[in-house]
Symmetry: C2
């Protein structure tokens, strides 16, 4: 009886989710095989780039262990409010709607010891209750790896367009990303392309270029998967500075190599996904 | 009935684990709040440093999503053999005994989609069945974050001496590590100290020093926790090169700043833990 009631709740939640997601045109998940490759930085700055290109954007920071998106977008410390249409996401600059597990934590010091099944329930409940409204793009910052959480998010988000895989150039990390790609294939979600982060570093004094974390990994991976290498973003101390300030790098340093590259990636995604729109609506 | 049988299995396994761990003098877990901070690199190279200082060392690579330790120690592609005393760990250079989930994967392409409860069972079973023999040091490379796996490993490994927290200097990452520290406190395991990785970078051409990922984070964290900052390891392209070659950095480039720092950290851990031995045995 309890179990059957629970199943009814789940199926009711899924109906609500499907209804809410009808108003969202494109859904992209940002994924990486391991943490620390700058996935959240890419997800947050891609959202800003899309908004700068006049798209209505929402971002779901689904990383339970280190929800960094609010910090990067300068909306940390906000709390979620409930309105007549459900939970209202926090609105950042450019009208970007932000939902993060960070908004539900009591303090910096609170660790999130949530067991796997609880996480899946929490994600489904959130997706059912948040009022995203009409959006052009819905960006999901998945937890790193190939475990429970990315699996749950992929299962619960209807109509995903595809995955953007973030990697760094070194070989050790590529192993992990290959696993992530297989994971994506098993879930039957297309890979839209690969972004290589921390590609190189240019010494600001002498101009010497160093490949700090190896070379060519993103290209090799993209070729291996038969997908496009969407862009290569260098190591830049300004990235760290912007993240810490809570001002998006792509907007604060638009002339930097990295920001130009992120804008280029956003344009590529738009042309990939909106070309499909035109074909299906004409 | 099934449940009670299962509980009997668990309690039998825990007895075997306790028996095996009596022969291991010190157990240290290497932990980080998030991935990609070089935790596996530190864990593997600390093991080598301890072995170079004539200690008998075993390392358990408990990272389900990206088991990198075998690659770094040059024993990738090995398989586990079963002997009369149980599963025999793979033996790397310096006699270091290595157990990794990587030895149980079929290929680079296989993702590990294991659900939370399965992971806890797998860890307990492994710890019960592996014949470590007599060891001075048992190093556990925990999965990143504050979720199911680090919790399981900490619960299942008897008599842990403490945690070494690995961080990078940037502020965003410190948030995560603070969560990890609270997690450690909740589990009642002492923190032996903080290691700051990717602390700085020295341009090999002009000598310019740049703080690529921020500055001072490790020190701030250590102070905040009231523990020692055990060492600061720079960004060094040789680290990536050594990892890719499967030759430990600390041994391949012993004169580098990073290798000297890792040896210093190993000596500090020895003096912390073996001083306790002397006090308790005298």
């Amino acid at each position: 009886m309890v179990s059957s009631g629970f199943n009814k709740v789940i199926s009711a939640q899924r109906k609500v989710i499907a209804e809410r997601f009808k108003k969202i045109k494109h859904k992209i998940v940002i994924m990486s095989g391991k943490g620390g490759v700058g996935k959240s930085f890419i997800a947050a700055n891609l959202s800003v780039a899309l908004a700068m290109l006049n798209r209505k954007v929402g971002i779901f920071d689904a990383d339970f262990h280190g929800p960094d998106v609010p910090k990067i977008l300068g909306v940390r410390g906000n709390v979620l409010r409930v309105g007549p249409k459900g939970i209202e996401p926090v609105v950042a600059k450019h009208g970007i709607k932000v939902l993060s597990l960070d908004f539900m934590l009591s303090s910096d010091e609170t660790p999130i010891i949530w067991r796997g099944p609880l996480k899946a329930t929490a994600i489904r409940q959130l997706l059912a209750e948040v009022n995203w409204g009409d959006l052009d793009y819905f960006i999901v910052d998945l937890p790193p790896g190939t475990g429970d959480e990315p699996l749950s998010v992929a299962h619960e988000t209807p109509g995903l367009d595809g995955i953007v895989l973030v990697t760094i150039p070194s070989e050790v990390s590529l192993l992990d990303v290959k696993r992530a790609a297989t994971f994506a294939k098993r879930l039957n979600i297309p890979i839209l392309g690969v972004v290589e982060n921390m590609s190189y570093y240019r010494c600001p004094i002498c101009g010497h270029i160093e490949y700090l974390f190896g070379k060519g990994g993103g290209e090799t991976l993209a070729k291996k998967l038969g997908v496009e290498l969407l862009g290569k973003i260098p190591v830049d101390t300004k990235i760290n500075e912007a993240n810490d300030k809570g001002q998006p790098y792509v907007e604060l340093y638009p002339e930097s190599d990295g920001a130009r590259e992120i804008l280029k990636i956003a344009k590529k995604l738009i042309s990939k996904l909106e070309a499909v729109d035109e074909r299906t609506t004409s």
